[in-house]
Subunit: 211 residues, 2 copies
């Protein structure tokens, strides 16, 4: 599974634009039905009906429901990571990267309202895939924090530890606001979160401070 | 559902010790099978076989599989909260409360290896129950942080925001270590996490500092 997971985009890419649109419609149907009805309560017939695609056509793109689920998780992971990467591109200040990165994550989760429910089900449907999803996010995050620490922008703490701590804060704020209330965390939450982060991650004062 | 969820312990408490043991065995069977096989792939017959309990006996305690699932989530919530409350009782320093509280959470998750998978499935099986589980944890946490802020032990940030941020860090560190590796986060992770917390939450220096 981990080898399979490594390819970050969806598995087989159809050759034609029409094929890509059909595959995209099936993935969107999966995102909606797995999120709102549940993976187990959703059949291939439900997916083709929702996507308005013939039953036989489904099998041109996926071996079955589970393969569509796996492709969907990989697709969401890829979309989320590339959306955040584009949003923070060119920003030098690490705290600004964090602020924009989190705001982008919350917007993404608002546009993909079933993200949490779909990803959480992966833990039972395919534990390795669930692990791959979080690890893949964690790796990129760790690299970014390691670089900021090397540049002296943030305190010299283990970047992987910080990556999981920061991702956890975003995860839980997103659950509290996006999943439960259908809106991004209010400005006051973002301010207090950023204050926690600034003080928590600011480089220690000392001879090397202010680099 | 929220009214149902409010009672924090399991629903109907059997009158006899033998009844309580039978109910406990069924809840433990649910925790194991829902976690390792999955809620949907587990039948009442699987649960009674695992618990070594007669099929008819099951219905003395639960209306069906879903009621057992709900009782299990409430039971885990109650156990987790009371285990942490006992562990931190009498500790005055808020940062020590955090350290001991998180260590206790990781130990609890190690002893309940299926906690994550079971709770994550609640998002699809019963979204209101999932929300209740996290809200109930968040409420107690918020109260504790509000009190520490009033005492001047921590920075004056919105306690609910801090509660979700801190819970998120514990959630993700527990996923990374307890769920994936079967062990508590290593000492170096705890140290860096506590350093992030101490700096992030330390009261601002100023006239009111050092109260």
């Amino acid at each position: 599974m981990s080898g399979e997971g490594e390819g970050s985009g969806p598995g087989r890419r159809p050759a034609t634009e029409r094929g890509r649109a059909t595959k995209r419609a099936l993935l969107e149907a999966g995102e909606k039905l797995f999120g709102r009805v549940g993976y187990h309560e959703t059949s291939v017939a439900d997916l083709t009906r929702e996507a308005d695609v013939g039953h036989g056509t489904f099998y041109l793109y996926f071996e079955g429901k589970k393969e569509l689920f796996r492709d969907l998780i990989r697709h969401l992971s890829h979309e989320l990571r590339s959306t955040i990467a584009r949003a923070v591109e060119g920003i030098e200040d690490r705290f600004e990267v964090e602020r924009v990165g989190f705001e982008t994550f919350f917007r993404f989760a608002l546009e993909h309202r079933d993200l949490y429910t779909v990803v959480h089900q992966a833990g039972a449907v395919d534990p390795e895939l669930s692990r791959w999803y979080y690890r893949r996010l964690g790796e990129g995050y760790t690299e970014g924090l390691a670089e900021a620490a090397r540049e002296g922008q943030i305190r010299d703490l283990d970047p992987e530890t910080m990556a999981y701590c920061l991702a956890g804060m975003g995860h839980m704020m997103g659950m509290r606001w996006v999943l439960w209330e259908g809106e991004a965390p209010p400005a006051s939450w973002m301010e207090d979160f950023m204050e926690l982060l600034r003080h928590g991650l600011a480089p220690s004062p000392g001879p090397e401070a202010g680099r």
